[in-house]
């Protein structure tokens, strides 16, 4: 397949692996920010191809994983209401919250659906606003989660609804931003990350100028990187080259998709519909100015206000170490619950839920390495 196969070529991959081996003189820890990159790395076994001195830490860039439990709870409460059509990207349907509004056993949107809630999977946020137009007697709510990548697509239907007077449409927003999370990781006393692969798709929208001050301030190389095996290997190569040479700049591996200034019209739309707010990250905690909420002009479309849920809060409580996982301080296999008490079917924490979560990716592709886990899986 054109534009895909050439980035999965085994011979070219081997050449990069050899080049990386020739470059490394000491241990380095590099964090890939994005869950899509984590998924690719584990799926293709890219970390296994690298020299032992290179540690890849899996970052907090899975929007499904970092959406806080209280927002999931709000989604469940809205979706369980009788006059509501609740629309979401498919991944969010299995994320566990902490309550059970539909008297179903599970506390996720799938369980609310099984108990009679009208929950739709949509592929484009614009589909949700179309559903609102087709069902004027229902409240249609879209679950607007994601990083900067999905922000323009989630902003568009809100803007459209305002322009076209679609008053039965609203959005439950839990948008997060990458640069504040990187700073949170870098300022943590336990930080072990020495270089970053920045998320290519986020940068297609935002460009990478906002990473330049971070690279300077914390003296870390940041390489904007794509998602295919060769993208990742090249991004790792570029990052290690900077580390070995003692440089700390922002470089762009994903030049076929990313420009330094990003996509200006998309940024303008996001700036119009959203405003920067403090945001809780599941497993990490609140990071100031790290998320997007609806701008004052669009407050009428805020589902939290419309359904009276803006004051709702929830606490999480379990043995999950997702915060350490998402800061790169621990690997999934180092968690005592991983693979036994915590599996994709019975997740204790968010990184086990989404296919882009580090724990789920390890569980899905890596169980073979641990005999105990194999026994669990063979019992089916």
């Amino acid at each position: 397949m054109k534009y895909v196969d050439e980035y999965r070529d085994p011979e070219a991959a081997q050449q990069y692996v050899t080049a990386i081996r020739g470059l490394v003189t000491r241990p380095w820890t590099i964090m890939e920010i994005c869950g899509g990159q984590t998924h690719s790395i584990v799926k293709y076994g890219i970390d296994e191809l690298l020299p032992k001195q290179i540690t890849l830490a899996h970052g907090p860039g899975c929007p499904v994983c970092v959406t806080p439990v209280e927002v999931i709870d709000k989604a469940l409460q809205i979706a369980a209401q009788p006059n509501v059509i609740f629309c979401s990207f498919g991944d969010m349907l299995r994320v566990p919250g902490s309550i059970n509004p539909a008297n179903s056993s599970g506390s996720d949107l799938l369980s609310v659906k099984a108990a009679g809630g009208d929950v739709h999977i949509v592929y484009s946020p614009m589909d949700a606003v179309k559903i609102a137009q087709q069902n004027p007697d229902k409240q249609v709510v879209f679950f607007a989660v994601g990083f900067e990548t999905t922000a323009p697509a989630n902003a568009m239907p809100v803007h459209y609804a305002k322009q076209n007077g679609v008053t039965n449409y609203s959005v439950l927003v839990s948008h997060v931003l990458v640069p504040p999370a990187m700073e949170a990781i870098l300022s943590s006393p336990t930080n072990c990350v020495q270089g970053f692969l920045a998320a290519g798709h986020v940068c297609t929208v935002m460009g990478y100028t906002e990473y330049e001050p971070i690279a300077m301030k914390y003296r870390v190389p940041i390489v904007v990187t794509g998602f295919e095996p060769l993208d990742l290997l090249q991004g790792i190569y570029m990052c290690i080259l900077q580390l070995e040479q003692g440089r700390c700049g922002v470089e762009n591996q994903y030049a076929r998709a990313v420009r330094r200034e990003g996509n200006r019209p998309a940024q303008e739309l996001v700036a119009k519909v959203f405003r920067v707010v403090n945001r809780k990250w599941r497993g990490i905690g609140e990071i100031s100015q790290s998320g997007l909420g609806l701008a004052a002009n669009y407050a009428d479309f805020d589902a939290e206000l419309r359904f009276g849920l803006s004051q709702y809060t929830a606490q999480e409580d379990s043995e999950c170490i997702s915060g350490l996982i998402m800061q790169g301080a621990k690997k999934p296999e180092e968690c005592t619950a991983y693979g036994n008490r915590c599996t994709p079917d019975h997740p204790l924490g968010a990184p086990m839920v989404s296919s882009e979560g580090a724990c789920a990716a390890y569980y899905r592709y890596r169980r073979l390495r641990n005999k105990n886990l194999v026994e669990v899986s063979s019992r089916g």
């Binding site: 659906k113 100031s288 997702s322 073979l368």
Partner: protein, 351 residues
């Protein structure tokens, strides 16, 4: 800049076992297996059922028969390459074929929703007639029920089938052993993408047609040539991954397959890239895997390639010693990973 106010390293409480049926319980993945192993098999335990095969093989008064049933609840009813009628015939015929049985007789139970256009029903019945004729089976008994408007989804069909086993080869997951070659009868994933494209209103440059087809002909070709077949499995809802994992679990072996040998059409691969799907988990309705001893592998592939529906058959891997129940995949980069069974639904209600 981002200031970390607190680092609460905690997550939510575990999910309990679900006490409502979810779509995933019929999705052909792990949830469905939990239902089978936890509820159905313990309640109806018997020798034929415990074979965990696509159908039951029974000896009645000296005659070896295969018996199977399947229900069809596909939405949309019509899709490129077929409709619910073709599925209802081919699916049951294929389950018989996977037992190595020549399909003979089918029953058909129609559950119709009040208000269904008669023209729709006529089209479906015509498809069933054509498919049955093409598979050389007769529809010998049936039933029709109508439910209130809103209580069904147009048409649900159940078919059951009987076939006769006219050879002495034992075809069953329990016969799969280390060293067996794993053959795949063609490209994968077309049915899943065809259904999804219609259901979700996705349009691609070239319409992707379902691979829906009867599989008795290639199985017959193998049997006629006296290929020592160890096991056959048609790939349906759970895709190639579930088909292989089911066999690996039932036989207590590991299936090791090569990604590069698994054929996926370019348009299906493209759709998967766009939608974030994995072709290994996409539904098929005209593909199967065959487990044969190593010394029969080459001959079996040649035989399959001489039949239209399996003209792109390839060898995709081999059976190796444990860990039991695992399927591993050698990636294009030469690394090895696990192929896991789908936990929930990748596409809701395909067939």
């Amino acid at each position: 800049m981002g200031e970390v106010k607190e680092f609460r390293l905690q997550c939510p409480v575990p999910l309990n076992d679900t006490d409502h049926v979810q779509l995933a319980h019929g999705g052909g993945g792990r949830r469905m297996h939990e239902l089978l192993e936890g509820l159905l098999l313990p309640n109806f335990s018997n020798e034929a059922l415990l074979e965990r095969h696509d159908g039951a093989t029974l000896t009645i008064s000296g005659a070896k028969l295969a018996f199977t049933t399947d229900s069809y609840v596909v939405r949309p009813l019509f899709f490129p390459g077929g409709d619910i009628g073709t599925l209802a015939i081919n699916g049951t015929v294929n389950d018989l074929a996977m037992c190595g049985a020549r399909p003979l007789y089918l029953s058909s139970a129609l559950i119709l929703e009040e208000g269904l256009p008669m023209e729709t029903l006529r089209r479906v019945v015509e498809s069933m007639r054509l498919s049955a004729a093409s598979a050389n089976v007769q529809l010998v008994t049936g039933d029709t029920k109508v439910v209130d408007k809103g209580k069904g989804d147009g048409i649900f069909i159940n078919t059951a089938g009987i076939g006769v086993i006219e050879h002495d080869i034992s075809i069953s997951p329990k016969n799969v052993r280390p060293g067996d070659a794993i053959l795949l009868s063609g490209d994968i994933g077309r049915h899943g993408i065809a259904i999804m494209a219609v259901r979700e209103g996705l349009s691609f440059e070239n319409a992707i047609e379902s691979d829906c087809a009867t599989l008795w002909e290639p199985v017959k070709a193998l049997l006629d040539a006296c290929v020592e077949i160890h096991c056959l499995r048609d790939l349906t809802r759970g895709g190639l991954s579930s088909g292989l994992i089911e066999i690996a679990e039932a036989a207590g072996v590991r299936c090791a397959v090569n990604e590069a040998d698994i054929r996926v059409r370019e348009e299906v691969a493209g759709a998967c890239e766009i939608l974030g799907l994995d072709p290994l988990y996409l539904a098929n309705e005209g593909r199967f895997v065959a487990f044969v001893p190593e010394h029969e592998a080459e001959r079996a592939v040649d035989i399959l390639r001489n039949v239209d529906v399996s003209s792109q058959a390839t060898r995709i891997g081999r059976v190796v010693d444990g860990p039991a129940g695992l399927v591993t995949l050698k990636t294009q980069l030469g690394t090895e990973r696990i192929v896991d069974m789908l936990g929930g639904e990748q596409l809701p209600r395909i067939c």
